[in-house]
Amino acid sequence: MHMRVIKTAFQVTVLFAAFLLLLTVNAGAMINGITGTTFNLTAKTGHISTPDGGSYLIWGYANGTGLAQYPGPTLIVNQGALVRVKLTNNLTVAGGGTPPNVSIVFPGQQVTIASADPGVPGILTKEAASGKTVTYQFTATNPGTYTYYSGTDSALQIEMGFMGTIIVRPTKGANFAYNHQDAKFDRETLFLLTEMDPRIHQAVENFGPAGVVGTDYLANYFPVLWFINGRAAPDTMAEPMAPWLPYQPYNCMPMMHPGEKLLMRVVGGGRDLHPFHHHGSHARVIARDGQLLASAPNTGPDLSTEVFTIQSQPGSTIDAIFEWTGKGLGWDIYGTAADGPEFIHTCNDTIVVDGFDDATHEYCADHDKPFPVTLPTNQELAFGGFYSGSPFLGSLNSLPPGQGGLNPNGGYTYMWHSHTEKEMVNYDIFPGGMMTMLLIEAPGVPIN
């Protein structure tokens, strides 16, 4: 249904995004966030925008005097650090009522309250009253992926946007997820998954938090918007800190080369389950809720298993390592001499004898095997915006005017998305919502 209009809308925005990505430094290698040991967060209102032109009130944690963020700042700390999170309540609400208290809970952390900013008692933790501050502190004892979110009126406040990610980097190094060799990665991407029921946001925008009282929105929840790292596709693929998304600074653009390890940090930021399907290959789930899946200390992730869809549960975190080489496809992903002289290449498995080329990670057993079928003529095909025109990695071929164009280096692209497909839409536009693309660039093509 209306395939073409989608392609057009998708293409324009993403083309812009892809163009900017090329200019952006270091967007894909490490996760965007703020580092340190003391974080000054401020609870504020803001407005997010969705690719279909929507604008919605959010409540977000801001970094100091910055804008409210959806989701809150990703706090990146080192293992063993004493972390202080100072939360100041600058929330304002419609309807002239007193702004509600705000707070943060840190599942998996042993939190104490600083005596200087004790806050006021709440149901799940100490809270900051309007205009006041509360300071939480904890020692980041264990490495891993964690989440933080509002402990005050959580059904409403998490929905409004009070949630975020904490990454604790292990002592072993920043390219390890945990203190074990099997938790090493080359690149990492955050996938914080949320959904939104605009009725709640409109009620709060018009009447303040009292606007949801007397409705059944919190019980009979019906989201129609879905996000990764606070953005709905195709904005997920735009540059981080895009000036046109001031309240949604984080993107989600996984990129890698064949043979590299991509760490997926998947956080259930909302209240729904999401089946996050990562096309391309299985991923090995090595940790949950910041705990390595190990049968004993120092065994490494010996209880890990591989999945093709990550079941993200609300409030939980999953760490998974994704790898791709194209092993066993039965044809040469770089083409053969029969495809043209420019496809002639070698596969050298001599230094590290593992079945793969030492430099490119090509699977040598498939080397020089011909492409197995004849593709239909261009007139018989519809082309995706990310199609390079060629089935071979790193190669481009001409496409009819207006087709393709989003994949200038001929990389392989894979859709990573909620497999509850109604969640990968922007209302009636598919694809959108909880979706992004993995870009695997050919060896030698620089990423960032």
Partner: protein, 333 residues
């Protein structure tokens, strides 16, 4: 929740357990009655019609009882369990225990096209009648018992309770947390829940829906710091929930009465509809810990706050008569 069943939910110190078990092993016939009840929501004086299991009073009550989740049943691992059911409702009722293997005696109807449909998973007590159920060689763990007749209708009406069989060597103390939901719109005239009509508004733990502004339900079970506590989760609701123990990690050891080959350390756990889970937690600091549904069934009849939230009270060691407020170790106070 009335006092008796609250006490039962909290379980019992070691000395009492020993006595309990010696009784249970000699005879494990349990007698229940399915009755009409009334449940008064926290925000309203208007009671909601419920169906529930109560200890069999020997004859049908003359008036609707105060509804609660069914009484906690206990059984002995490896023994046979018999439940005798008296049906005081106007339609057939049965009892199934989804996690225990058994021989079922399905009851069927034939529809207008001649297709045979199972309307009850096993044999039923007719209105005013009785029925008896036996499970042989029952396995240890935490279980739900619930109606096996028209489950789309009778379970959400309130015909459920918990069964605890045996105990784990790791923990002498335990607490039971039975999650469930109520959609009042389907109770005035008891109706089947369907894909589109089921919209629960009350979210309960152990039969109690916390409502904002009211005291938060406390589950303490005389649990001490530095001792293993077994948390038994059960979900009689039709939707999944995600309990989070705020602060510490738990170790999930079993589901549906089946031990995992390797336990899993998590602060949150998916508690699917009809699922039971067992978790071990060793608190290192005394105080009050919150446990709540991260699927955010944290509202009560639409009002924010409330819903599926309890406090776990961990006593210091040695016991003292009161717990001084401690704001550490992940505890709330």
């Amino acid at each position: 929740m009335n006092r008796t069943s609250l006490l039962k939910c909290l379980r019992i110190p070691v000395l009492l357990l020993v006595a309990f078990f010696s009784v249970a092993s000699s005879s494990s016939a349990l007698n229940l009655a399915a009755v009409e009840g009334r449940w008064t929501p926290p925000d309203s004086a208007v009671p909601i019609t419920m169906w529930g299991f109560i200890p069999d009073p020997g004859s049908c009550p003359g008036a609707p009882v105060a509804w609660n989740v069914g009484p906690l049943q206990t059984g002995t691992s490896g023994a046979n369990l018999t439940i005798n059911l008296r049906n005081c409702l106007s339609e057939p009722v049965s009892i199934v225990i989804p996690g225990q293997n058994t021989i079922l005696t399905p009851q069927t109807i034939t529809d207008g096209q001649g297709r045979v449909r199972v309307r009850a998973f096993t044999n039923e007590a007719a209105p005013g009648g009785t029925a008896s159920y036996t499970w042989n060689n029952i396995k240890a763990g935490t279980f739900l018992y619930q109606s096996g007749s028209n489950p789309a209708k009778q379970v959400h009406m309130g015909l459920y309770g918990s069964l605890v069989v045996g105990k784990y060597s790791e923990a002498t103390k335990d607490v039971l947390l039975l999650f469930s939901e109520i959609d009042p719109a389907l109770h005035g005239t008891p109706a089947s829940a369907t894909p589109l009509n089921y919209k629960p508004k009350y979210f309960l733990i152990n039969g109690k829906a916390y409502s904002s502004g009211q005291p938060i339900p406390v589950v303490n079970g005389n649990t001490q710091v530095n001792k293993n506590l077994l948390i038994r989760f059960a979900n009689a609701g039709l939707m999944s929930h995600t309990p989070v123990l705020q602060g510490p990690h738990m170790t999930i050891i079993a589901e549906d009465g089946n031990r995992y080959p390797y336990a899993r350390k998590q602060y949150s756990v998916l508690l699917a509809a009809g699922k039971t889970l067992d978790a071990i937690w060793r608190p290192v600091k005394s105080g009050t810990y919150a446990l709540y549904d991260r699927s955010l069934s944290l509202s009560s009849n639409g009002a924010p706050g409330g819903g599926m939230l309890v406090y776990l009270d961990i006593k210091p060691f040695p016991w003292v008569l009161f717990t001084a407020p401690i704001t550490s170790g992940g505890a709330i106070r």
